[in-house]
């Protein structure tokens, strides 16, 4: 019994270590001091107001949202289609293609960023949101292929075949027989792909000269001073991420638990 308590206590310590810094930043973001000190001398929404009234921060946020939405849409569509396609090729090319699709998740972003930047220099695509959207979509692709792939392998191919037998075209058969079963996984994948882009710093740093995304704005700010506005943004960031991850995990578990049903 005591051994169990000790083990649970140690695990809780590990989790606390993971959350500790952001748990400290959240209350400090409600400080009204000019410099962040602990504990704050006065409290208020000063830094939240600073964020929501600064056109530069808002423009960066809007740009990041726009890019992340598009990147997520492209990654989710291409990734889901790829999962279906991968189910139709022989094992050898399937392994090679899966490796290619998953590689961006394991290669350090800085290497991919440099490659995309050099490509953009050659084709004149620097300072272009479009290039950044496609680069971010490629970074999100591995997560879509993994999450949707796990759900797709658990669907029953007989359902889609049955739909075909009864006269549905291939698209319609997929749409009515397979898609509903993997839809939660697709939505979960879309959320993950969104955050891969929304968070991404180094590709945006290389590609976007003047037009800063939110991470680039934070980066440029942090290098010169610790601006308490970032504490407010961090807190918002953390709340939004936690909520979205809870939703994504819920959807993902639902999609992969279906296996039990006949």
């Amino acid at each position: 019994m005591t051994r169990r308590l000790v083990a649970a206590g140690l695990f809780a310590l590990g989790v606390l270590f993971l959350f500790f810094p952001i748990l400290i930043v959240a209350p400090m973001s409600f400080s009204a001091d000019r410099f962040l000190g602990f504990p704050p001398a006065s409290w208020g929404l000063t830094w939240y107001r600073a964020y929501f009234t600064d056109p530069v921060w808002l423009a960066a946020t809007g740009r990041s949202l726009r890019i992340a939405l598009l990147a997520s849409l492209i990654a989710t569509t291409a990734g889901t289609a790829a999962v279906v396609g991968l189910g139709r090729v022989r094992p050898r090319p399937r392994a090679a293609l899966t490796g290619l699709f998953l590689a961006p998740a394991i290669i350090p972003n800085i290497i991919i960023a440099l490659g995309v930047f050099i490509l953009a220099l050659r084709i004149g695509g620097t300072d272009s949101e479009i290039t950044l959207v496609f680069a971010h979509a490629t970074l999100g692709l591995p997560f879509v292929v993994m999450i949707v792939g796990a759900a797709y392998r658990q669907t029953d191919p007989a359902l889609e075949r049955a739909a075909r037998v009864f006269g549905a075209g291939p698209l319609r058969a997929f749409w009515t027989a397979t898609l509903p079963a993997i839809l939660p996984a697709i939505l979960a994948a879309a959320i993950f792909a969104f955050f891969v882009s929304f968070d991404e710093l180094v590709v945006a740093l290389f590609l976007m000269g003047g037009a800063e995304t939110l991470p680039v704005r934070i980066w440029n700010d942090l290098r010169f001073e610790i601006n308490p506005t970032i504490a407010a943004i961090s807190t918002l960031f953390v709340i939004v991420t936690a909520a979205a991850m809870a939703l994504a995990e819920f959807l993902r578990l639902r999609a992969t638990r279906r296996q039990g049903s006949p």
Binding site: G14, A82, L86, I110, F134, F195, I230, S234
Partner: protein, 276 residues
């Protein structure tokens, strides 16, 4: 087979080729041609002790961070795996949420916590351990601590995935045959969980090799890693040299992981092999 059924692969293939394979090829070209075939960028890297020192530092920091993560992450995964199946998703979720939080935000949080006016300095002064604030940032301890904290979830998840592959019947069999819990763990569970542990170590090593945010924001001048040099060279428009460094980074990573696999391969048994 006609081309039709493979049609759904096209968009992802185009994306991966245009934004990953072609850029990689262009990077190699940029490093080797300037404008004619040249080794000048690699020569510059390998003949200056500054750059070699940074390469060595990057390798050492990555190995230390991966080992720290293993030390903390393996027991955490072990704990989750020994919980009733219904409780596991929640415990995993607690580890997964920080994994998806912005690295920038988490690094900033460390800046706030370890800063001169931060909570750690506040606590030290309150306890009377120091009279003046201590400089806790801008040294390699802070870099290791923050990098390990940021990458720890990856280790827990990878170790956990490896552990769930292990057939629980094997451990039970060892217990039935008279082995105590520690002996059953050491001789059955531990060897079978090593594959996941080595995978976790390798993934964290790779990710650490590319880190630049943490060393730039909370490291000192001597904590510069290869990633920081690459970002700096891009800013100075030395693209050829930046590309050469990226290739060195990738080659060093692959070489070291090959070595790890070679050494670890002797001790590792896949949990899938041990299945009836």
């Amino acid at each position: 087979m006609p081309f039709g059924p493979r049609l759904p692969l096209i968009p992802a293939l185009l994306l991966a080729l245009a934004m990953f394979a072609v850029p990689a090829a262009l990077m190699v070209q940029q490093a080797l041609f300037d404008p004619g075939l040249t080794a000048v960028h690699f020569e510059r890297f390998f003949t200056r002790s500054v750059y070699l020192g940074v390469l060595q530092k990057t390798l050492v920091v990555s190995a230390v961070v991966a080992s720290l993560c293993l030390l903390v992450g393996y027991p955490m995964a072990l704990y989750i795996v020994h919980q009733p199946p219904r409780r596991r998703p929640l415990l995993l979720f607690l580890v997964l949420v920080p994994m998806w939080m912005s690295i920038l935000v988490r690094t900033y949080a460390w800046m706030v916590v370890l800063g001169r006016e931060g909570i750690v300095n506040g606590a030290l002064q309150w306890l009377g351990l120091t009279a003046e604030p201590v400089t806790l940032l801008f040294n390699s301890y802070a870099v290791h601590l923050a990098m390990a904290q940021i990458l720890l979830p990856v280790m827990v998840v990878t170790c956990y995935a490896g552990m769930t592959e292990i057939d629980p019947g094997l451990v039970r069999a060892a217990r039935v045959m008279g082995a105590g819990p520690l002996r059953a763990f050491r001789h059955v569970f531990l060897p079978l969980s090593l594959e996941g542990a080595v995978t976790g170590w390798s993934v964290i090593f790779i990710l650490s090799m590319g880190f630049f945010i943490v060393p730039a924001l909370i490291g000192g001048r001597r904590d510069t890693l290869l990633g920081n040099l690459i970002v700096g060279q891009v800013a100075q428009t030395n693209w050829g040299f930046a590309a050469a460094m990226a290739i060195v980074l990738l080659a060093a990573t692959v070489a070291l992981l090959g070595l790890v696999r070679l050494v670890a391969g002797r001790f590792i048994h896949s949990p899938r092999e041990a299945r009836p």
